[in-house]
Symmetry: C2
Subunit: 155 residues, 2 copies
């Protein structure tokens, strides 16, 4: 699941590095050692949201439509890893009438769902603090993210 | 995986509700509709860390050793869901010598690992803002977590 996010950021950075050349999904599959279907699904998302333009097929390929500084990492995270809609499978409690304490189980499900949802909102906010230009900066100077996260009081 | 956390908080709240009675792992398995092995593994962790005391076997059972306000939700999260040690399977890039761009792939792996690790630290910090007394409060008055998270500037 999280791989889709990595494919998105890796693709965008490679497109940026290769500008003004077009890059094909086959090249990206090669670059990342990831199945071409995963690549194409992610490129399709990026295309739909206007991050890249291009065509498939002979002489096809993609180029970036935005500057890295204009691309928010959190937006890419939300796009490729949508929030979990139901936390049911992470929650305990038998709410059937004959259970030991169905009322407590029902309350637990509500409270834990709220807790997980709020924690996930908080988690995503972290990614929204960075742009793809920051990621490019960290690629060249590892440790940049950590310094920024500390300066912003995020960790 | 995250189920272990739910089992831990559910168990502790039930033990608190039943005080001074002892509660058995069989009762907890019944309460949560969760396999008894999962329950026993979690109880063993809670016992080792001194959150509960008690014995297995005939006339066995567990009681709480701490007040809910003394139990940090983040400590329980870290105990039951340890941080991922390697993000390798979420990271793209072929670093072998014949790959398209092994240097970029290697830099991507480092930067994405840092990004994921920092985001996880930030995520866990959310849980550390709450005690089990807060969770008990939210069980009775749903929405309490959300109000607190907003007041604390977490979301």
């Amino acid at each position: 699941m999280r791989l889709d996010f990595s494919v998105a950021v890796h693709s965008l950075l490679y497109l940026q590095a290769k500008q003004p050349e077009k890059v094909t999904s086959a090249q990206l599959a090669d670059l990342m050692a990831v199945n071409a279907v995963v690549i194409r699904n992610t490129l399709s998302l990026l295309h739909k949201k206007g991050y890249i333009k291009g065509t498939v097929g002979k002489n096809g390929g993609y180029t970036l439509t935005k500057k890295l500084a204009e691309i928010n990492v959190g937006d890419l995270y939300d796009l490729t890893i949508p929030p979990i809609l139901s936390y049911a499978r992470f929650i305990t409690g038998d709410v059937t009438a004959n259970a030991l304490d169905p009322d407590m189980a029902s309350d637990m499900a509500t409270s834990l769902t709220d807790l997980f949802t709020l924690a996930d909102d908080h988690y995503r906010a972290f990614y929204h603090e960075f742009s793809m230009a920051d990621l490019a900066q960290d690629l060249k100077h590892h440790g940049y993210f950590k310094t920024m996260a500390k300066e912003k009081g995020l960790i």
